[in-house]
Symmetry: C2
Subunit: 314 residues, 2 copies
């Protein structure tokens, strides 16, 4: 976990990866570039721009290397990519990303269904990825994202001890950060506080981001709960794109716009200019015509008299 001051958080935008791989349409590369440029212009300093996966399985990400290349042209932005295996990691490292995200599902049932490997098999993959990084790409970060950390649609309850055991295993295998993901929208604020408190107690500076979903409306409450126990890095997705929505209107990922609004309203600096972030919805929509975008702040508009405490710094 990066450690900004108490009144600062880092918003990690995952829409270009998590969002774009969840929709049916493939956004053209030129549109991805324009959207990324707008996201960067809003002040976002960390963006998960793509995943390195077989193009026949996920054609939306076939241009991953090109997208990374473009993102790297923006100085001061940490460029992340998701990789599910060693092959993807090698491609991403070769493309020049600053950080890899490797998903490790805590639920055995979910892990087997998704990647045909057990959670501990994935820790072994992580160890090999870390060895490759150490050998040929020193300085690149590796984040393990523990999916289904708060519950699983296949196996139901996910034991908290198992989450922590796997988090420790990931850190020992070479992850620089271990984050927790509410993949299924089952987290609640009390559980979020408990788990992140334990994660921070066990991992210290390696305790990573909160990746919360809004499936059942608790996304921001859970982010607040995580903030309360010291989490300072939060994933969001512009327009709530992606994150396996279960139902129409029920967004998956926490909407970045609403997340930034919450923190900035509280006086917690995000470094993101909300008006510019709202403006970035236009290139996103242009690249995905007809795709529904979510967000309460975008729908209601900013309140009268609302001034962004951090805007002067952006």
């Amino acid at each position: 976990m990066t450690s900004p001051s108490i009144s600062e958080v880092l918003i990690s935008e995952v829409g270009p990866r998590d969002g774009l791989q969840s929709v049916k349409a493939t956004m053209p590369t030129a549109d991805k570039r324009r959207w990324l440029d707008a996201l960067v212009a809003s002040g976002l300093r960390e963006i998960e721009v793509c995943s390195f996966v077989p193009p026949h399985l996920m054609p939306q990400m076939a241009d991953a290397s090109e997208v990374v290349h473009h993102a790297l042209s923006h100085a001061g932005v940490a460029v992340l990519a998701l990789v599910p295996n060693l092959k993807g990691a090698e491609a991403a490292l070769t493309a020049g990303v600053h950080k890899l995200t490797l998903p490790v599902s805590v639920s055995r049932a979910h892990s087997l269904a998704n990647v045909r490997q057990t959670p501990d098999d994935m820790v072994a993959v992580l160890r090999r990825v870390a060895a490759l990084r150490d050998e040929r790409f020193p300085g690149v970060g590796i984040e393990a994202g523990l999916s289904t950390a708060f519950g699983c649609t296949l196996q139901g309850v996910v034991p908290e001890d198992e989450v922590i055991r796997l988090a420790v295993a990931c850190a020992e295998a070479g992850a620089n950060e271990v984050g927790l993901s509410d993949t299924t929208g089952m987290a609640n604020p009390a559980q979020t506080r408990r788990l992140f408190q334990r994660l921070r107690a066990e991992l210290g500076d390696k305790a990573g981001s909160a990746h919360m979903h809004n499936t059942r409306g608790l996304g921001l409450a859970n982010c607040l709960a995580a903030y309360d126990v010291g989490v300072r890095v939060f994933d969001g997705s512009q327009g709530g794109l992606g994150g396996c929505p279960h139902a129409p209107g029920a967004s998956g990922n926490v909407v970045t716009e609403d997340l930034v609004f919450m923190f900035e309203s509280m006086g917690v600096h995000t470094g993101v200019n909300l008006e510019k972030l709202l403006a970035a919805r236009a290139p996103l929509q242009a690249g995905l015509p007809g795709e529904p975008l979510y967000g309460m702040v975008p729908e209601a508009g900013l309140p009268l008299g609302w001034t962004q405490p951090g805007a002067a710094h952006v």
Copy 2:
């Protein structure tokens, strides 16, 4: 404020008043009865069932006395009505309500626009209502609901000192409880904590409920923030009905179903059976055909393996 144990909250359902007076259609009295019966069956112990206002201004509430009469047939349910003035209070008291809610807007601009009286004029009204209560209806509660307590769409920022000054004035004028309302959806969790902390410090047991809106997505985060500083009574509206939505899809009032889900998931007992509460949407929808109902839990469904900690008590 009632004072249940640390792991209990009281959910005050305001849909039959706040919701039904905000929609264009008038729900027939027989449908109101069926909906109220279903709300009571879910375990709700406090319901704001109507407002006593001139029927030509608000035909949706023309059957207020009949609705109160029906609600009173349910033992163990606190029956509330909103009253804007002494005349409404007398009618509500005569009808036999257990508690009156009197709205007092902290924003002078909002107060003048809404009731053509200043906030302090409304405190004087409250004093007359309390005198009437003391004289002829002892034992009936009076709650002052401080609207625009977190910001105003007309005047913008509402000074926190002014909120507290008015809250103290309301308590001194005879209110048994003083709650804070985020009428305009401008509250944030930090402000919510500050204001309710100050309210409780000033008013002690007379500090009342949190009436939060979800206009910008922060409704549940704000309820969590209020809970964290000791608030134990929360207003919600089934289906998010009412509360002046600013935009399509942007609900006003916090959705009771999502609110109950949050607390029950955290292990905080509400006394409300969530499945029965979800079932109460059917008579609501039957009485308001075509009216959009909101709610993330209703859309996504309950998580796999989710059991309601408090269900056995309901």
